[in-house]
Protein backbone atom coordinates (compact mmCIF):
# COMPACT_ATOMS: atom_id res chain seq x y z
CA UNK A 1 0.00 0.00 0.00
CA UNK A 2 1.26 3.43 -0.96
CA UNK A 3 1.57 5.33 2.34
CA UNK A 4 1.69 8.77 0.73
CA UNK A 5 -1.33 8.04 -1.40
CA UNK A 6 -3.31 6.74 1.53
CA UNK A 7 -2.43 9.74 3.67
CA UNK A 8 -3.79 12.08 1.04
CA UNK A 9 -6.96 10.01 0.63
CA UNK A 10 -7.70 9.94 4.36
CA UNK A 11 -6.11 13.28 5.30
CA UNK A 12 -9.37 14.92 6.36
CA UNK A 13 -10.06 12.28 8.99
CA UNK A 14 -6.44 11.72 10.02
CA UNK A 15 -6.19 15.38 11.12
CA UNK A 16 -9.13 14.86 13.50
CA UNK A 17 -8.17 14.98 17.15
CA UNK A 18 -8.39 11.48 18.60
CA UNK A 19 -8.25 9.83 15.18
CA UNK A 20 -4.78 10.45 13.72
CA UNK A 21 -2.61 8.01 11.79
CA UNK A 22 -3.15 5.53 14.59
CA UNK A 23 -6.88 5.51 13.91
CA UNK A 24 -6.27 5.11 10.20
CA UNK A 25 -3.96 2.16 10.80
CA UNK A 26 -6.58 0.51 13.02
CA UNK A 27 -9.10 0.84 10.21
CA UNK A 28 -6.59 -0.57 7.72
CA UNK A 29 -6.07 -3.67 9.87
CA UNK A 30 -9.79 -4.17 10.55
CA UNK A 31 -11.96 -6.79 8.82
CA UNK A 32 -15.68 -6.07 8.67
CA UNK A 33 -18.35 -8.36 7.22
CA UNK A 34 -21.55 -6.71 6.02
CA UNK A 35 -24.47 -9.14 5.79
CA UNK A 36 -26.96 -7.93 3.22
CA UNK A 37 -26.18 -5.40 0.47
CA UNK A 38 -29.57 -3.74 0.80
CA UNK A 39 -30.90 -0.49 2.20
CA UNK A 40 -28.70 -0.66 5.30
CA UNK A 41 -25.78 -2.57 3.83
CA UNK A 42 -25.16 -0.26 0.86
CA UNK A 43 -24.51 2.99 2.74
CA UNK A 44 -22.62 1.12 5.46
CA UNK A 45 -20.37 -0.47 2.81
CA UNK A 46 -19.82 2.83 1.03
CA UNK A 47 -18.66 4.65 4.15
CA UNK A 48 -16.60 1.76 5.53
CA UNK A 49 -14.76 1.39 2.23
CA UNK A 50 -14.35 5.14 1.79
CA UNK A 51 -12.98 5.42 5.33
CA UNK A 52 -10.33 2.81 4.55
CA UNK A 53 -11.40 -0.31 6.47
CA UNK A 54 -8.73 -2.72 5.19
CA UNK A 55 -10.90 -5.76 4.49
CA UNK A 56 -14.62 -5.56 3.80
CA UNK A 57 -16.77 -8.60 3.06
CA UNK A 58 -20.27 -8.44 1.62
CA UNK A 59 -22.60 -11.41 1.62
CA UNK A 60 -25.88 -11.36 -0.33
CA UNK A 61 -27.41 -14.00 -2.60
CA UNK A 62 -29.95 -11.62 -4.08
CA UNK A 63 -30.02 -9.67 -7.33
CA UNK A 64 -30.75 -5.97 -7.83
CA UNK A 65 -34.40 -5.20 -8.55
CA UNK A 66 -36.01 -1.98 -9.71
CA UNK A 67 -37.83 -1.43 -6.40
CA UNK A 68 -34.47 -1.59 -4.56
CA UNK A 69 -33.18 1.53 -6.27
CA UNK A 70 -35.13 4.17 -4.32
CA UNK A 71 -32.99 3.39 -1.29
CA UNK A 72 -30.01 1.24 -2.35
CA UNK A 73 -28.07 4.00 -4.07
CA UNK A 74 -24.92 1.95 -4.62
CA UNK A 75 -26.82 0.39 -7.55
CA UNK A 76 -27.94 1.87 -10.85
CA UNK A 77 -30.80 1.07 -13.19
CA UNK A 78 -28.52 -0.94 -15.49
CA UNK A 79 -27.62 -3.22 -12.54
CA UNK A 80 -31.15 -4.65 -12.31
CA UNK A 81 -30.92 -8.44 -12.45
CA UNK A 82 -27.23 -8.56 -11.48
CA UNK A 83 -25.78 -10.01 -8.26
CA UNK A 84 -25.88 -7.42 -5.47
CA UNK A 85 -22.67 -8.68 -3.86
CA UNK A 86 -20.78 -8.61 -7.16
CA UNK A 87 -22.03 -5.21 -8.29
CA UNK A 88 -21.36 -3.79 -4.81
CA UNK A 89 -17.81 -5.18 -4.79
CA UNK A 90 -17.06 -3.77 -8.25
CA UNK A 91 -18.35 -0.32 -7.39
CA UNK A 92 -16.68 -0.23 -3.97
CA UNK A 93 -13.36 -1.19 -5.50
CA UNK A 94 -13.70 1.72 -7.92
CA UNK A 95 -14.33 3.99 -4.93
CA UNK A 96 -11.25 2.75 -3.08
CA UNK A 97 -8.91 0.29 -4.83
CA UNK A 98 -6.64 0.08 -1.78
CA UNK A 99 -9.26 -1.89 0.16
CA UNK A 100 -9.68 -5.66 -0.04
CA UNK A 101 -13.31 -6.41 -0.94
CA UNK A 102 -14.65 -9.96 -0.67
CA UNK A 103 -17.98 -10.65 -2.39
CA UNK A 104 -19.97 -13.71 -1.29
CA UNK A 105 -22.92 -14.45 -3.57
CA UNK A 106 -24.32 -17.32 -1.49
CA UNK A 107 -27.09 -17.23 1.08
CA UNK A 108 -25.98 -17.04 4.70
CA UNK A 109 -26.99 -20.28 6.45
CA UNK A 110 -26.14 -22.13 9.64
CA UNK A 111 -23.78 -24.26 7.49
CA UNK A 112 -21.55 -21.41 6.34
CA UNK A 113 -22.03 -18.62 8.91
CA UNK A 114 -19.50 -19.71 11.52
CA UNK A 115 -16.69 -20.27 9.04
CA UNK A 116 -17.41 -17.02 7.23
CA UNK A 117 -17.72 -14.90 10.40
CA UNK A 118 -14.48 -16.31 11.84
CA UNK A 119 -12.54 -14.48 9.09
CA UNK A 120 -13.78 -11.09 10.30
CA UNK A 121 -13.49 -8.93 13.44
CA UNK A 122 -16.91 -7.30 13.29
CA UNK A 123 -20.22 -8.29 11.69
CA UNK A 124 -22.65 -5.62 10.51
CA UNK A 125 -26.28 -6.75 10.24
CA UNK A 126 -27.92 -5.18 7.20
CA UNK A 127 -30.51 -7.90 6.64
CA UNK A 128 -34.23 -7.51 6.15
CA UNK A 129 -35.73 -10.50 7.98
CA UNK A 130 -35.90 -11.98 11.47
CA UNK A 131 -34.63 -15.42 10.45
CA UNK A 132 -31.24 -14.05 9.38
CA UNK A 133 -31.11 -11.57 12.27
CA UNK A 134 -31.44 -14.37 14.86
CA UNK A 135 -29.00 -16.54 12.91
CA UNK A 136 -26.41 -13.71 12.82
CA UNK A 137 -26.89 -12.93 16.51
CA UNK A 138 -26.47 -16.54 17.60
CA UNK A 139 -23.38 -17.04 15.40
CA UNK A 140 -21.80 -13.86 16.79
CA UNK A 141 -22.47 -14.98 20.36
CA UNK A 142 -20.89 -18.39 19.68
CA UNK A 143 -17.80 -16.80 18.11
CA UNK A 144 -17.58 -13.81 20.48
CA UNK A 145 -17.81 -11.34 17.56
CA UNK A 146 -19.12 -7.80 18.02
CA UNK A 147 -22.34 -7.27 16.07
CA UNK A 148 -23.34 -3.84 14.77
CA UNK A 149 -27.10 -4.10 14.50
CA UNK A 150 -29.44 -1.89 12.49
CA UNK A 151 -33.10 -2.30 11.53
CA UNK A 152 -35.84 -0.13 10.12
CA UNK A 153 -39.61 0.07 9.85
CA UNK A 154 -41.37 2.73 7.77
CA UNK A 155 -39.96 5.98 9.24
CA UNK A 156 -38.07 4.60 12.25
CA UNK A 157 -34.72 2.96 12.83
CA UNK A 158 -32.86 1.04 15.53
CA UNK A 159 -29.09 0.79 16.03
CA UNK A 160 -27.10 -1.12 18.66
CA UNK A 161 -23.81 -2.88 19.25
CA UNK A 162 -24.25 -6.35 20.68
CA UNK A 163 -21.78 -8.83 21.98
CA UNK A 164 -18.91 -6.39 22.55
CA UNK A 165 -16.97 -5.56 25.71
CA UNK A 166 -17.56 -6.90 29.21
CA UNK A 167 -21.03 -8.11 30.28
CA UNK A 168 -21.95 -8.19 26.62
CA UNK A 169 -25.63 -8.08 25.82
CA UNK A 170 -27.00 -9.67 22.65
CA UNK A 171 -30.11 -9.34 20.50
CA UNK A 172 -31.94 -12.07 22.45
CA UNK A 173 -31.59 -10.06 25.67
CA UNK A 174 -33.79 -7.48 23.99
CA UNK A 175 -36.04 -9.74 21.92
CA UNK A 176 -35.66 -13.29 23.29
CA UNK A 177 -37.68 -15.08 20.60
CA UNK A 178 -38.62 -14.24 17.03
CA UNK A 179 -41.98 -12.47 16.85
CA UNK A 180 -45.12 -14.23 15.77
CA UNK A 181 -45.13 -14.33 11.96
CA UNK A 182 -47.22 -11.53 10.56
CA UNK A 183 -47.25 -9.48 13.78
CA UNK A 184 -44.41 -7.26 12.56
CA UNK A 185 -44.48 -6.12 8.97
CA UNK A 186 -41.35 -5.89 6.83
CA UNK A 187 -40.47 -3.17 4.32
CA UNK A 188 -42.08 -5.05 1.44
CA UNK A 189 -45.39 -5.10 3.31
CA UNK A 190 -45.28 -1.82 5.21
CA UNK A 191 -43.12 0.38 2.99
CA UNK A 192 -40.04 2.40 3.85
CA UNK A 193 -38.92 5.96 3.19
CA UNK A 194 -35.87 5.56 0.92
CA UNK A 195 -33.61 7.88 2.85
CA UNK A 196 -34.24 6.13 6.19
CA UNK A 197 -31.97 3.08 5.66
CA UNK A 198 -29.42 5.56 4.31
CA UNK A 199 -29.42 7.29 7.68
CA UNK A 200 -29.51 4.11 9.75
CA UNK A 201 -26.90 2.26 7.65
CA UNK A 202 -24.66 5.30 7.97
CA UNK A 203 -25.15 5.23 11.75
CA UNK A 204 -24.07 1.56 11.69
CA UNK A 205 -20.93 2.54 9.75
CA UNK A 206 -20.31 5.31 12.30
CA UNK A 207 -20.60 2.83 15.18
CA UNK A 208 -18.29 0.36 13.39
CA UNK A 209 -15.64 3.04 12.88
CA UNK A 210 -15.96 4.16 16.54
CA UNK A 211 -15.66 0.56 17.67
CA UNK A 212 -12.51 -0.02 15.58
CA UNK A 213 -10.75 3.24 16.39
CA UNK A 214 -11.91 3.57 20.00
CA UNK A 215 -13.25 7.05 19.37
CA UNK A 216 -16.21 8.44 21.28
CA UNK A 217 -18.76 6.25 22.99
CA UNK A 218 -19.95 3.41 20.75
CA UNK A 219 -23.46 2.09 21.44
CA UNK A 220 -22.15 -0.99 23.27
CA UNK A 221 -25.01 -2.55 25.27
CA UNK A 222 -27.13 0.39 24.19
CA UNK A 223 -30.06 0.69 21.84
CA UNK A 224 -30.71 3.80 19.78
CA UNK A 225 -34.06 4.61 18.19
CA UNK A 226 -34.44 7.23 15.51
CA UNK A 227 -37.55 8.69 13.90
CA UNK A 228 -37.02 10.41 10.55
CA UNK A 229 -40.35 12.27 10.72
CA UNK A 230 -39.61 14.00 14.01
CA UNK A 231 -35.82 13.52 14.34
CA UNK A 232 -36.60 12.24 17.81
CA UNK A 233 -33.87 9.95 19.03
CA UNK A 234 -33.59 7.95 22.25
CA UNK A 235 -30.79 5.82 23.66
CA UNK A 236 -31.71 2.97 26.01
CA UNK A 237 -29.33 1.00 28.19
CA UNK A 238 -29.67 -2.77 27.72
CA UNK A 239 -29.79 -5.34 30.48
CA UNK A 240 -28.94 -9.02 30.08
CA UNK A 241 -31.67 -11.59 30.77
CA UNK A 242 -31.03 -14.74 32.73
CA UNK A 243 -33.00 -16.88 30.30
CA UNK A 244 -31.05 -15.76 27.22
CA UNK A 245 -28.43 -18.45 27.63
CA UNK A 246 -31.06 -21.18 27.46
CA UNK A 247 -32.30 -19.81 24.12
CA UNK A 248 -28.89 -19.69 22.44
CA UNK A 249 -27.33 -22.65 20.66
CA UNK A 250 -24.99 -24.51 22.99
CA UNK A 251 -22.25 -25.05 20.42
CA UNK A 252 -21.46 -25.06 16.70
CA UNK A 253 -23.20 -28.38 16.22
CA UNK A 254 -26.38 -27.21 17.92
CA UNK A 255 -26.27 -24.01 15.84
CA UNK A 256 -25.93 -25.93 12.56
CA UNK A 257 -28.93 -28.11 13.42
CA UNK A 258 -31.23 -25.14 13.94
CA UNK A 259 -33.77 -24.06 11.37
CA UNK A 260 -34.03 -20.28 11.68
CA UNK A 261 -36.39 -19.97 8.74
CA UNK A 262 -38.85 -22.28 10.43
CA UNK A 263 -38.35 -20.64 13.83
CA UNK A 264 -39.27 -17.29 12.35
CA UNK A 265 -42.23 -18.66 10.43
CA UNK A 266 -40.73 -17.84 7.05
CA UNK A 267 -41.42 -21.39 6.05
CA UNK A 268 -44.56 -22.87 7.43
CA UNK A 269 -46.12 -26.27 7.70
CA UNK A 270 -49.53 -24.65 7.60
CA UNK A 271 -51.46 -25.85 4.61
CA UNK A 272 -54.33 -24.18 2.81
CA UNK A 273 -57.25 -26.43 1.97
CA UNK A 274 -60.21 -25.98 -0.38
CA UNK A 275 -63.89 -26.30 0.50
CA UNK A 276 -64.02 -30.01 -0.44
CA UNK A 277 -61.15 -30.91 1.86
CA UNK A 278 -62.78 -28.77 4.54
CA UNK A 279 -65.98 -30.84 4.18
CA UNK A 280 -63.98 -33.99 4.83
CA UNK A 281 -62.49 -32.51 7.99
CA UNK A 282 -66.01 -31.67 9.21
CA UNK A 283 -66.70 -35.42 9.26
CA UNK A 284 -63.39 -36.22 10.94
CA UNK A 285 -63.80 -36.40 14.71
CA UNK A 286 -60.07 -36.07 15.29
CA UNK A 287 -60.04 -32.61 13.78
CA UNK A 288 -60.90 -29.49 15.75
CA UNK A 289 -62.49 -26.75 13.66
CA UNK A 290 -61.73 -23.22 14.87
CA UNK A 291 -63.24 -19.87 13.94
CA UNK A 292 -60.46 -17.28 14.39
CA UNK A 293 -62.64 -14.27 13.62
CA UNK A 294 -63.20 -11.69 16.34
CA UNK A 295 -66.39 -11.87 18.41
CA UNK A 296 -69.70 -11.03 16.75
CA UNK A 297 -68.39 -11.14 13.21
CA UNK A 298 -70.97 -12.01 10.60
CA UNK A 299 -72.05 -14.33 9.11
CA UNK A 300 -72.70 -16.65 12.02
CA UNK A 301 -71.74 -20.24 11.47
CA UNK A 302 -74.20 -22.86 12.74
CA UNK A 303 -73.80 -25.51 10.05
CA UNK A 304 -71.11 -27.41 11.99
CA UNK A 305 -69.55 -27.76 15.43
CA UNK A 306 -66.56 -25.50 16.02
CA UNK A 307 -64.66 -23.50 18.63
CA UNK A 308 -64.27 -19.73 18.58
CA UNK A 309 -60.83 -18.37 19.35
CA UNK A 310 -60.19 -14.91 17.87
CA UNK A 311 -56.83 -14.29 16.22
CA UNK A 312 -56.07 -11.55 18.76
CA UNK A 313 -56.21 -14.11 21.59
CA UNK A 314 -54.67 -17.00 19.72
CA UNK A 315 -51.20 -16.86 21.18
CA UNK A 316 -52.53 -16.74 24.74
CA UNK A 317 -55.02 -19.56 24.16
CA UNK A 318 -52.84 -21.90 22.12
CA UNK A 319 -52.78 -24.33 25.05
CA UNK A 320 -56.50 -24.93 24.52
CA UNK A 321 -55.80 -26.87 21.34
CA UNK A 322 -55.66 -30.51 22.39
CA UNK A 323 -56.43 -32.14 19.05
CA UNK A 324 -53.57 -33.07 16.75
CA UNK A 325 -55.40 -31.76 13.73
CA UNK A 326 -56.57 -28.16 13.67
CA UNK A 327 -58.62 -26.65 10.87
CA UNK A 328 -58.92 -22.88 11.00
CA UNK A 329 -61.26 -20.56 9.19
CA UNK A 330 -62.08 -16.85 9.07
CA UNK A 331 -63.98 -14.58 6.70
CA UNK A 332 -61.73 -14.69 3.63
CA UNK A 333 -58.96 -17.13 4.52
CA UNK A 334 -56.32 -14.48 5.20
CA UNK A 335 -56.46 -14.33 8.97
CA UNK A 336 -56.84 -18.08 9.31
CA UNK A 337 -53.63 -18.54 7.33
CA UNK A 338 -51.89 -16.07 9.63
CA UNK A 339 -53.32 -17.98 12.60
CA UNK A 340 -52.13 -21.27 11.09
CA UNK A 341 -48.61 -19.86 10.83
CA UNK A 342 -48.73 -18.73 14.46
CA UNK A 343 -49.83 -22.19 15.59
CA UNK A 344 -47.29 -23.92 13.33
CA UNK A 345 -44.55 -21.88 14.96
CA UNK A 346 -45.93 -22.82 18.37
CA UNK A 347 -46.49 -26.53 17.81
CA UNK A 348 -43.95 -27.38 15.12
CA UNK A 349 -44.51 -30.83 13.67
CA UNK A 350 -46.57 -32.08 16.61
CA UNK A 351 -49.85 -30.92 15.06
CA UNK A 352 -51.26 -30.75 11.56
CA UNK A 353 -52.67 -27.32 10.93
CA UNK A 354 -54.91 -26.31 8.03
CA UNK A 355 -56.48 -23.06 6.88
CA UNK A 356 -59.66 -22.85 4.80
CA UNK A 357 -58.82 -21.07 1.57
CA UNK A 358 -61.35 -18.42 0.59
CA UNK A 359 -62.76 -18.40 4.11
CA UNK A 360 -66.28 -19.09 5.35
CA UNK A 361 -67.80 -16.75 2.77
CA UNK A 362 -66.52 -18.91 -0.05
CA UNK A 363 -67.47 -22.14 1.74
CA UNK A 364 -71.03 -20.93 2.40
CA UNK A 365 -71.41 -20.09 -1.26
CA UNK A 366 -70.21 -23.53 -2.38
CA UNK A 367 -71.39 -25.87 0.35
CA UNK A 368 -73.38 -23.92 2.90
CA UNK A 369 -76.77 -24.82 1.55
CA UNK A 370 -76.32 -28.59 1.54
CA UNK A 371 -74.55 -28.79 4.95
Amino acid sequence: MNEHYSYERYQRQIILEGFGEEGQEKLLRAKVLVVGAGGLGCPALQYLVAAGVGTVGVVDDDVVTLHNLHRQILFTTTDVGLSKAEVAAKRLLEMNPSVQINAYTFRLTTRNALELFSNYDIVLDGTDNFATRYLINDACVLLGKPLVYGAIAQFEGQVAIFNAGGNAVNYRDLFPQPPVPGSVLNCAEAGVLGVLPGLVGTMQATETIKLITGMGKPLINQFLTYNALTHNSFVFGLNAREETESLLPKDANDFEQRDYEWLCGTTSDAEEIDSDAFERFLLNEEAMIVDVREENEQPEVNEFVHRKIPLSLLKKKAFAFRNDTLVLFCQSGKRSLEAAKILSATFGLTKKIYSLKGGILHWKKEHGTKA
Binding site: D128, I152, A153, P197, T225, G237, L313
Partner: protein
Protein backbone atom coordinates in the same frame (compact mmCIF):
# COMPACT_ATOMS: atom_id res chain seq x y z
CA UNK B 1 -52.03 11.50 41.00
CA UNK B 2 -49.10 9.41 39.75
CA UNK B 3 -48.29 10.38 36.18
CA UNK B 4 -46.37 7.95 33.98
CA UNK B 5 -45.14 8.92 30.53
CA UNK B 6 -45.36 6.23 27.86
CA UNK B 7 -43.24 6.31 24.68
CA UNK B 8 -44.11 3.95 21.87
CA UNK B 9 -42.33 2.96 18.67
CA UNK B 10 -43.04 1.33 15.32
CA UNK B 11 -46.12 -0.81 15.09
CA UNK B 12 -47.09 -0.05 18.71
CA UNK B 13 -47.46 3.64 17.80
CA UNK B 14 -49.55 2.54 14.83
CA UNK B 15 -51.83 0.40 17.00
CA UNK B 16 -52.26 2.95 19.79
CA UNK B 17 -52.37 5.96 17.48
CA UNK B 18 -49.86 8.11 19.37
CA UNK B 19 -46.20 7.86 20.30
CA UNK B 20 -46.13 9.83 23.55
CA UNK B 21 -48.86 9.93 26.19
CA UNK B 22 -49.43 10.06 29.92
CA UNK B 23 -51.24 7.46 32.02
CA UNK B 24 -52.24 7.87 35.63
CA UNK B 25 -51.92 5.62 38.67
CA UNK B 26 -50.44 2.57 37.02
CA UNK B 27 -48.53 0.54 39.59
CA UNK B 28 -46.25 -1.60 37.44
CA UNK B 29 -45.10 -2.40 33.93
CA UNK B 30 -47.32 -5.49 34.00
CA UNK B 31 -50.38 -3.40 34.86
CA UNK B 32 -49.54 -0.97 32.06
CA UNK B 33 -49.23 -3.83 29.55
CA UNK B 34 -52.55 -5.37 30.69
CA UNK B 35 -54.27 -2.01 30.58
CA UNK B 36 -53.04 -1.27 27.06
CA UNK B 37 -53.79 -4.80 25.83
CA UNK B 38 -57.37 -4.47 27.06
CA UNK B 39 -57.78 -1.25 25.10
CA UNK B 40 -55.79 -2.41 22.07
CA UNK B 41 -56.19 -6.20 21.61
CA UNK B 42 -53.70 -6.26 18.73
CA UNK B 43 -50.94 -5.72 21.30
CA UNK B 44 -51.60 -9.18 22.74
CA UNK B 45 -49.98 -11.03 19.87
CA UNK B 46 -47.00 -8.71 19.83
CA UNK B 47 -43.65 -9.26 21.52
CA UNK B 48 -41.84 -6.11 22.56
CA UNK B 49 -39.11 -4.95 24.91
CA UNK B 50 -39.93 -2.57 27.76
CA UNK B 51 -37.62 0.11 29.12
CA UNK B 52 -38.21 2.09 32.31
CA UNK B 53 -36.34 5.37 32.61
CA UNK B 54 -34.20 4.56 29.58
CA UNK B 55 -33.06 1.14 30.80
CA UNK B 56 -34.57 -2.10 29.50
CA UNK B 57 -36.17 -4.28 32.15
CA UNK B 58 -36.11 -8.05 32.45
CA UNK B 59 -38.73 -8.47 35.18
CA UNK B 60 -41.95 -6.71 36.19
CA UNK B 61 -40.98 -3.29 37.47
CA UNK B 62 -42.78 -0.94 39.88
CA UNK B 63 -43.54 2.47 38.38
CA UNK B 64 -42.99 5.69 40.31
CA UNK B 65 -44.51 9.10 39.66
CA UNK B 66 -42.59 10.64 36.78
CA UNK B 67 -41.37 7.31 35.37
CA UNK B 68 -41.04 7.04 31.62
CA UNK B 69 -41.88 3.69 30.05
CA UNK B 70 -40.82 2.88 26.50
CA UNK B 71 -42.44 0.07 24.50
CA UNK B 72 -39.99 -1.16 21.88
CA UNK B 73 -41.12 -3.61 19.20
CA UNK B 74 -38.54 -5.41 17.05
CA UNK B 75 -38.00 -4.11 13.51
CA UNK B 76 -37.05 -6.50 10.74
CA UNK B 77 -36.54 -4.16 7.78
CA UNK B 78 -33.29 -3.36 6.12
Amino acid sequence: MKEITVLTFGIITEIIGKSNFVVNDIASTEELKKDLEAKFPRLRNLDYAVAVNKQTITTVTTLEAGSTVALLPPFSGG
